[in-house]
C-alpha cells in the first residue's frame, strides 16, 4: 500500500474553477462516439438535403417563382431537417450524464454546479456553432453552383415572338439565379443559418437539463421546433396573423434567408428581431434548466 502515496501530484495552487471545467467538458464531449456520429449525421442531413433541394430547383423552377426565388434559403433548405438532428446532440450532451449516472461522479469531483453547467453549456455552444456554420456555408456554396444554371420552365404559352411551345410542353430557358457571399444581406443570412442550427441544439440542451431524460428532451425539442410549425399551417388566417410570427421556426427562420418566410399575407418579424425571439425561447429554457440543475438532488 506504499504505492498509494501520490508521486505525480504537485501541491495545490489556486482554486479549481471554470478553466478546468471547460477542459473536462471538452474531454467528455469528444471522447464518446455518439457525439462524433451525431455531428456527422447533422452535417450529412443538412448538407445532403440542401444539395438535393438545390439540384431539384436547378433542374426545374417555374418562371412564376423566379421573382421570389431566394438563392440563400433555397441553398440551405436542409436546415429544416438538420435541426432535428442537432437537437439530439444538444439533448445528449446533458442527458447522458443522467442516463449513465455520471452526473453523480461529475458533481462529486466538481460540486460547484454553476461551474459545471456553465462549462458544459459553453463547450456545447462552441461545438454547435462550428457545426452549424460549417453546414450553412457548405450548403450555401453548393447551392450557388447549382443556381448558376437553373432551367426555368414557362408553361404560360406564347412568349414574345417565339410563340408557344408544343402543346403541354413548357418553354425552357437557362437562368443564372445564384448570388454571391458579398451581395447585400447574404453573409448575414448564411451565418444566420449556422446560428439557427446552434440555437436549436441549445434549446434541446436546456430541455434536457429540465427533463433529465434523453428521449423526453428530444421529443420536446422536436415538438417546439417542428410540431408548432406544422400546427401553424392549420390555423385560421385571423389567428395566424397574430400567432405565426411567434412560432419558433418562423421567428428564428427569418434570419437565414433573403426573403421572409411565409406566403407574405401574414405579418412576420424582421430577421434579427425574429432571431432574438427564437434565442429568447432557448435562453428561457436554459435558465430554467440551470436553476433546477443547481437546486435538484442529483
Amino acid at each position: 500500500m506504499t504505492t498509494l502515496t501520490a508521486v505525480g501530484l504537485p501541491p495545490a495552487t489556486g482554486r479549481a474553477g471554470f478553466g478546468g471545467a471547460l477542459r473536462s467538458e471538452w474531454t467528455k464531449i469528444r471522447s464518446v462516439r455518439s457525439t462524433v456520429w451525431t455531428l456527422l449525421a447533422t452535417a450529412i442531413v443538412t448538407i445532403g438535403i440542401s444539395t438535393l433541394f438545390a439540384w431539384g430547383s436547378s433542374g426545374h423552377t417555374d418562371i412564376q417563382d423566379v421573382p421570389t426565388f431566394d438563392p440563400v434559403r433555397s441553398a440551405m433548405f436542409g436546415i429544416v431537417f438538420g435541426q432535428l438532428v442537432i437537437v439530439v446532440i444538444g439533448a445528449m450532451t446533458m442527458s447522458s450524464e443522467y442516463a449513465t449516472g455520471m452526473i453523480r461522479t461529475s458533481l462529486t469531483s466538481m460540486p460547484r454546479r454553476g461551474v459545471v453547467f456553465g462549462a458544459k453549456l459553453s463547450v456545447f455552444t462552441g461545438v454547435a456553432l462550428v457545426t452549424g456554420l460549417f453546414c450553412s456555408f457548405t450548403s450555401f456554396f453548393i447551392g450557388q453552383a447549382f443556381f448558376a444554371k437553373v432551367s426555368v420552365h414557362d408553361f404560360r404559352g406564347p412568349v414574345g415572338a417565339k410563340g408557344p411551345g408544343p402543346a403541354g410542353h413548357p418553354v425552357i430557358t437557362i437562368h443564372d439565379l445564384s448570388t454571391t457571399i458579398g451581395a447585400p444581406h447574404v453573409l448575414q443570412a448564411v451565418i444566420g443559418g449556422g446560428l439557427y442550427l446552434a440555437v436549436s441544439g441549445l434549446l434541446a440542451f436546456g430541455l434536457a437539463a429540465l427533463l433529465r431524460h434523453t428521449a423526453g428532451a428530444i421529443t420536446a425539442a422536436i415538438g417546439v421546433l417542428f410540431v408548432t410549425f406544422i400546427m401553424a399551417q392549420f390555423l385560421p388566417s385571423d389567428w395566424a396573423k397574430h400567432v405565426d410570427k411567434w412560432v419558433p421556426f418562423f421567428a428564428g427562420g427569418q434570419l437565414w434567408g433573403l426573403r421572409k418566410l411565409g406566403d407574405g399575407s401574414i405579418p412576420m418579424l424582421s430577421p434579427w428581431t425574429g432571431f432574438a425571439v427564437f434565442a429568447a425561447y432557448a435562453a428561457a429554457v436554459i435558465v430554467a434548466g440551470a436553476v433546477l440543475f443547481k437546486k435538484r438532488d442529483a
Partner: protein, 317 residues
C-alpha cells in the same frame, strides 16, 4: 473528518434519514452499517452535496464540499461503480475528472497503474466486468490523493480476490492517516475491516462505537462444555448463579459464568470434562438482533417453509 449534525432527509412522507449526528475520524476505517434501505446511501450523498438535507448539516473538515478549493484533493468517493459513461474509455473517464480539479494528466496513468487497469485504459468501460468497474471507480476516488475516502457497498458482487484487495486498500488508506468511511449491510465484512462502527436503522442512529465495544456490548460470552455428566454440571452452574442449556451433540452452553469459573466448578465437584471453549456470538447475530426492529422489508414466509411447500405441491399432484 466528516461531521454530521442533525442530518435529516425527507422524501415526501418517508423519513429516509432522521436526525443523524456522528463524526467519522481520520486514521481508521469507519464502517457504516445498516440493513438495506436504512439510509446509508442517502447519508453519503448528503455528505457529498449531491442531495440537499431537509434539516441539519454535514461538513468535511469543517466545510461543505462545494467550498473546497480542490474538492478531489479533499474527498474521493465511490458511490456506484456504474455511475460512469460506458462509451468513454477508462483513461478519458479519469482524465475528464482530473481536469475539473486541475490535476496533472500523469496522475491518471498513475492511478490506473495503482488499481491494475493500465492494460485496459483505452478500452471503453462498457465492456468492463463488475470488478473492473469497481476498480475504475476507486481509481477515480484516488485521483486527487484525498484526505477523506467514502465507499458505498464496495464489495458487493466482487470475487474473493477483489474483496481482499479492497479490504487491504481501505486499511492501507486509513493507516496513512486518511479518513475512510465505508458502508455495508454485511456485519461480517465490517468485522474484518473496520475499527469503528456507525450503525443505523430506518434512518436513525443505533450505535456509534468501536468494533470491540460493539462486540462486548452486543454479544454475551458463552462457554461450551462437553462433559460426561451434563445434568450434574447444569445443576452446579445453576447454583453458582449461571445459566446452562443443552447445545448441539450433547454439549452444554453456559452463560453468566466465564471460562475459569466453569472449569473450576467442574474440577471442584469432580465432573469429567472433554471440552471447555469460549463461544462468541458472531457480530452478524448481534447486528441482526440490534436492527431487527428497523428492517424495512421482512420476508413473511421463511425460506425453509417455502421450500417444503414446494415439495408438498409436487407430492400432491
Amino acid at each position: 473528518m466528516i461531521e454530521a449534525s442533525g442530518l435529516t432527509k425527507r422524501y415526501g412522507e418517508r423519513l429516509a434519514v432522521d436526525q443523524l449526528t456522528f463524526a467519522v475520524r481520520p486514521g481508521q476505517v469507519t464502517g457504516f452499517l445498516g440493513p438495506n434501505g436504512a439510509g446509508k446511501s442517502t447519508t453519503m450523498r448528503m455528505i457529498l452535496g449531491l442531495d440537499a438535507p431537509t434539516a441539519g448539516s454535514v461538513t468535511i473538515d469543517g466545510k461543505p464540499l462545494a467550498a473546497m478549493a480542490h474538492p478531489m484533493r479533499e474527498v474521493g468517493a465511490l458511490l456506484d461503480a456504474k455511475a460512469i459513461h460506458g462509451g468513454r474509455s477508462a483513461y478519458n473517464h479519469l482524465l475528464c475528472l482530473a481536469q475539473t480539479n486541475d490535476l496533472p494528466k500523469s496522475r491518471v496513468a498513475e492511478v490506473l497503474e495503482l488499481v491494475g487497469l493500465s492494460d485496459v485504459a483505452r478500452k471503453r468501460s462498457k465492456g468492463f466486468s463488475l470488478g473492473m468497474g469497481q476498480r475504475l471507480g476507486i481509481a477515480g476516488a484516488l485521483l486527487g490523493d484525498p484526505k477523506v475516502l467514502m465507499f458505498d457497498e464496495p464489495v458487493n458482487g466482487l470475487d474473493p480476490e477483489g474483496i481482499l484487495w479492497i479490504r487491504n486498500l481501505m486499511k492501507g488508506l486509513a493507516s496513512e492517516g486518511r479518513t475512510v468511511f465505508v458502508s455495508s449491510h454485511l456485519m461480517s465484512e465490517m468485522e474484518n475491516t473496520a475499527d469503528h462502527l456507525i450503525v443505523i436503522g430506518q434512518g436513525r442512529l443505533i450505535s456509534d462505537c468501536t468494533v470491540q465495544e460493539f462486540i462486548d456490548r452486543n454479544s454475551a460470552l458463552q462457554v461450551r462444555v462437553r462433559t460426561t455428566e451434563p445434568e450434574k454440571l447444569a445443576e452446579l452452574v445453576d447454583t453458582a448463579g449461571g445459566r446452562a442449556k443443552p447445545g448441539a451433540d450433547g454439549t452444554l452452553l453456559v452463560s453468566g459464568l466465564d471460562l475459569t469459573q466453569v472449569g473450576d466448578l467442574a474440577f471442584d465437584n469432580g465432573v469429567r470434562i472433554h471440552e471447555l471453549s469460549p463461544l462468541q456470538a458472531s457480530l452478524e447475530q448481534a447486528f441482526m438482533e440490534l436492527t431487527k426492529d428497523s428492517v424495512e422489508f421482512h420476508a413473511t414466509v421463511p425460506a425453509a417453509q417455502l421450500a417444503s411447500a414446494d415439495g408438498k405441491v409436487e407430492a400432491g399432484s
